[in-house]
Symmetry: C2
Subunit: 268 residues, 2 copies
């Protein structure tokens, strides 16, 4: 089994996928598109991509790519993002001058860095900062990155959970070429475009409500070029080939220009 993800080895996406697939080969990819293409082409068996973050919201690009590629969501992972301060083994915190990371990670740990008088230095990504410090043996420099990056590059974790806001979670979907049948706690992700008629949204949601089906995500996509397209992303409880979800999907689809099942999987 080989699993693709976006980022360098040791990225938070790798940390997420290791909680789901503890012992697999990984394929780091430069972009979300490359990670998906790797699965479509058979270079990888699964891709793990982020779909939403508790602070930044939904990641539209992942949904756009899922609609372009004929892949299925077959799993869900929720990662509590815990930023760590990494340095060469044996380094004392007091001897550090700079902290290297992606600007978003630097911003999320700004209070800790200021308190410890560490000058933030922007880099392309979190794991790449860790790799740089390990390869160049930079003594006065730390990286803000994942625990997985520390293991990967032989660095020491000097502090863990240094983010200002502890509610920092990212939700990932596991994507594959074939769908799976989830055995427990099934959830289904959908994308749909409403028919351009009054009350279409209400008509689409009613079959789910009538059947007592829980909607756990509902999101309209940002309008494109001023003309509103009414594309929605929904997560609902249940498996898409079984009642009560299946008949509800049939009823809802009547009020959609198109409705696509992105996949059913066991809830994280």
């Amino acid at each position: 089994m080989r699993v693709s993800f976006q980022g360098e080895a040791g990225a938070y996406s790798e940390e997420a996928l290791r909680t789901f697939f503890p012992d697999v080969d990984v394929l780091p990819c430069a972009t979300f598109g490359e990670a998906l293409t790797a699965v479509a082409d058979g270079q990888a068996d699964r891709a793990v991509l982020p779909v939403e973050n508790s602070q930044a919201g939904s990641i539209t690009e992942t949904y756009d790519l899922m609609l372009q590629h004929q892949l299925w969501a077959v799993g869900e992972i929720e990662l509590r993002v815990r930023h760590c301060l990494l340095a060469l083994p044996g380094t004392a915190l007091a001897s550090l001058r700079t902290a290297h990371s992606h600007p978003q990670a630097l911003a999320q740990t700004a209070e800790y860095l200021a308190r410890n008088r560490l000058e933030p230095v922007a880099e392309r990504d979190t794991a790449g900062s860790a790799r740089m410090i390990a390869e160049r043996k930079l003594a006065g420099a730390a990286a803000v990155a994942s625990r997985t990056a520390a293991t990967r590059y032989g660095l020491e974790v000097l502090a863990e959970g240094i983010e200002t806001n502890p509610d920092n979670r990212t939700r990932f979907l596991v994507l594959a070429r074939e769908p799976v049948v989830p055995h427990t706690a099934p959830r289904t992700s959908l994308a749909l475009a409403l028919k351009n008629e009054a009350g279409a949204l209400l008509a689409v949601l009613k079959p789910f409500a009538d059947a007592g089906i829980n909607i756990t995500k509902l999101e309209s996509r940002p309008s494109r070029r001023g003309s509103w397209e009414y594309v929605f992303y929904l997560d609902v409880d249940g498996h898409h080939l079984e009642p009560p979800l299946w008949p509800a999907l049939e009823a809802a689809a009547k009020h959609c220009q198109w409705l696509r099942v992105l996949g059913s999987y066991t809830k994280a």
Copy 2:
């Protein structure tokens, strides 16, 4: 009039606010929270903050802060983000070696940079990269930043619109201490928490559908700590103190734990 925003002078947020307020003093702030606090405290009259991007989706942090602060949305700005390549005046493109910017801007312009053999170098932000090149008179270095940053730091625009995906737009809200009455094309932003009862979402949406009120954004907020809170962000057509929106809001509020009007404003 003084307007706060997040970022350095010359950031895309400043470019956005200059399309709305052509001739005002600006107050660059390090964080979204500082930009809002500046308005709450009276140091600024308005804050301009991004709420969604066509590629990255909604910016949850802005909504969270709007709920914390008692500020009103009084305007909407849509900015087509056009990345520019900036360098010292008189520089030839062929003499450039590196391109400095925020990793997100570097990723969005990766194809252009590769084609022109410019090595990407990560920095804290787009405008800060422009400032650095101007202050240090770096001859072989370019910045990927806004046209506003070029003006601000006396740099030359060597190329404009260098992003791979031309559909890169960001939507901003203008926030103030007091609400306004929009005279044309009113839109209203709402936040609400559903009552924990079956069919609550449908019951909340029905009054809008019955009154023929267009819903232009509908988004559930990412779940917090596993327990789903059912908080939704909605944009609807109309002014919140006038029919048909006002009675629809009254009817919808009966099925909410709380419903907060974030403000009514003229559509961008």
